[in-house]
Point group: C2
Chain length 419, copies 2
């Protein structure tokens, strides 16, 4: 028998685009005792979680619940429940996560068309609408905020066009929900998926999603229940059945309804965590929360620039929850990251594909997105860059960041005095 | 904005076949702060978890890791990674969970054959081997312990036959691992899946699995990496690619290897919980743990019989971790269950399909499987049955159970004196 090592979790400041730090209240929630999945105390909690999700996802949709799996589990659940063999799907890619959508949709059997733009930019709505006219897909799937490039795609015009032309719009809002405005209903989004480990600031492992009647209609046509749960095997809908049992939204919505279909066993402690995380968001208020994210982003960006570093990508479409920094040529980006972790216990991220080794990515998400983390990260980055021999402006970063916070405080107290 | 209700989890004694109670050490582990997924402190923990899993799954397989999802997520990951369109698969069904395997395999595109036996019985190995000879499938998928009927299928002979005849044996051991002996390697099991929320006694949400080289070979032939992560798009293996991205074991094993392929974001807190749960098992020792499960099962069964109730199913193949009780005709089974929950905070289970309303199922799994829970459950069940007007032998159940514990103590102390 092996000797196992007691669990030891070193303290970290996590400034990546996820997973990020979670509020102690969420961690405490997760340490509660177990409830059975059909215990009324637990099904009440499920119902309350659906209500909180609707608020956070800014939707009146009835269906709003988590899939038990990480973010891409939610994406796959949505896509495989919608896509039938050879369905036409358009996927505009402006970073890695567009290609992930493509990959998932293809594996679901879709006939996928993509359009691409340079990493660091987003699409003009017209470009997408022209493509929609040409291809006439059943659905278009888009990333809202792509963390790989730190860009955010405006969606409302696209949503409006899709609604008018009977195309479904499915959005991967994993990196944005809870950190910046995502208006599911106002932007005409039919299906939307997010993840727990980013701006919701709950541990990784759940993918909340929502969808409207247009999507539900398709799902219901494909509904099929396992033979072991029914008395009449002819109810098995072999023809249009969704390709996955685990990701079958027609069964999942029955599990999340008063029918309480026995599907999987809901991840008890994760649901406690999600519930508490959503409560924290509703208590803070969406507007306040977005403002907090903006303020800390502003301070971080001011500090980075004051140091003499430059930002990657089109500033007009910057994702507010991720800041991409061009790695100075004279330094090894990964060496800097590992020094930050070893010396300061701070984690920042690298990127993927064409941007691998070219940029650092600093996340400002959820509980990680707070003044002390920004100041600590700037001071640590400055120290490591100096240590590595990079020529930067010394001592300027913290001054710039502090001045952002001071100005904000002043304008807030001014507002208070006026009202 | 809605007013959200603070999380309140009532105390429960959970005597269902899962989810079950978890050790306070596991709950505490889950309340730790977050680590980044590629933080060396976290990847160390991943590696140690693999080591512990190998011990608990009694295997020398290199691959032993959890899928982030509930038990059926692990089953689907195994099946969809193995099954290609029209592959022949044999599934012997002796309860609901055989039909679940059928359903998952069919959705993966398999040409599924089933054989069935009466619920409450298991198969003679010869029956299965005859069918294997006839059908010559690529794989046979079997439930080890089916909680719906409380039966356990012997596997070794079947495993031996499969190995000799180049058939793959995949086993759903969700209800047995950690509660009764499951010898992955000695029984010639090629792929095995379990779940966290039963005898491992960790919250629901992860599905540990293991597989050997025979399975890995198939998976590697189907390997394909997302376009956003590679520079050469011709590496995308469209032809044999696995139908799911999330459940693609070829990518998952790269994530769990030094390659650390960026696939999903591992469910941080769930992994803490799994690690601590596995440590508890290794500390207790598999043999001791199985003995504890047997003893408590024996006491429960003695108590149930002493009350005058009868057990469902073939006693020779009883699943040691689930006890099925015939519901007396004069009482409504669900009414008894809800009274147990309301008055005593005790949860027991009903069953599915043909057994719905016919039997109660009491789980003796993991941390829930302890003397005080057995005694409390027996006393509560007796009280509710009396209240509901069922004629039973009063006061006998606890005497019978206590006497089982007493005899065990005596024989244990006798053994001590001898050695």
């Amino acid at each position: 028998m092996s000797i196992s090592i007691p669990l030891h979790i070193p303290a970290r400041t996590i400034m990546t685009p996820g997973p990020v730090e979670v509020d102690p209240r969420v961690r405490h929630a997760m340490s509660h005792t177990i409830l059975g999945q059909f215990d009324p105390a637990f099904t009440d909690l499920m119902n309350q979680t659906m209500g909180l999700l609707r608020e956070v996802l800014q939707t009146k949709n009835h269906w709003a619940f988590p899939v038990d799996g990480t973010s891409r589990a939610g994406i796959e659940a949505m896509l495989c429940s919608l896509i039938e063999e050879d369905d036409k799907v358009l996927i505009p890619c402006f970073g890695r996560f567009g290609y992930l959508l493509k990959e998932i949709a293809e594996r679901c059997g879709a006939d996928v068309s993509t359009i691409e733009c340079e990493w660091g930019k987003v699409f003009e709505p017209d470009t997408i609408m022209d493509e929609l006219k040409k291809i006439k897909p059943k659905l278009i799937v888009m990333v809202h905020g792509d963390t790989s490039t730190g860009r955010m795609q405006p969606l409302k015009e696209i949503g409006q066009y899709c609604r008018q032309n009977d195309i479904l719009l499915v959005v991967d809002a994993v990196a944005t929900v809870g950190g910046t405005d995502v208006k599911t209903d106002d932007w005409f989004i039919d299906g939307l998926i997010t993840g727990t480990q980013k701006c919701l600031s709950v541990p990784s492992g759940m993918a909340p999603l929502t969808y409207n009647n247009r999507i539900e209609k398709i799902i219901l046509e494909r509904k099929s229940i396992e033979q072991g749960l029914i008395s009449d095997p002819s109810q098995v809908n072999k023809k249009k059945r969704i390709r996955s049992n685990y990701f079958d939204l027609s069964q999942l919505q029955d599990y999340w309804s008063p029918a309480r279909l026995n599907h999987h066993t809901e991840a008890t402690s994760m649901l406690y965590g999600l519930y508490e995380g959503l409560r924290l968001i509703v208590e803070e208020g969406l507007e306040n929360r977005f403002k907090r994210h903006q303020l800390n982003e502003k301070a971080l960006v001011a500090g980075i620039k004051a140091m003499g570093l430059s930002l990657f990508g089109d500033p007009q479409y910057k994702l507010p929850t991720v800041t991409c920094i061009n790695i100075p040529e004279e330094v090894n980006g990964d060496q800097v990251r590992s020094q930050l972790l070893e010396e300061f216990g701070i984690e920042i991220a690298s990127s993927f594909g064409p941007l691998s080794g070219k940029i650092w990515r600093i996340g400002t998400m959820g509980y990680s997105c707070q003044k002390r983390n920004i100041l600590f990260t700037l001071s640590a980055l400055e120290a490591i860059l100096i240590q590595e021999g990079v020529r930067i402006y010394r001592g300027e970063a913290l001054q710039a960041a502090l001045s952002v916070y001071k100005k904000d405080q002043e304008s807030e107290s001014l507002k208070k005095n006026i009202t």
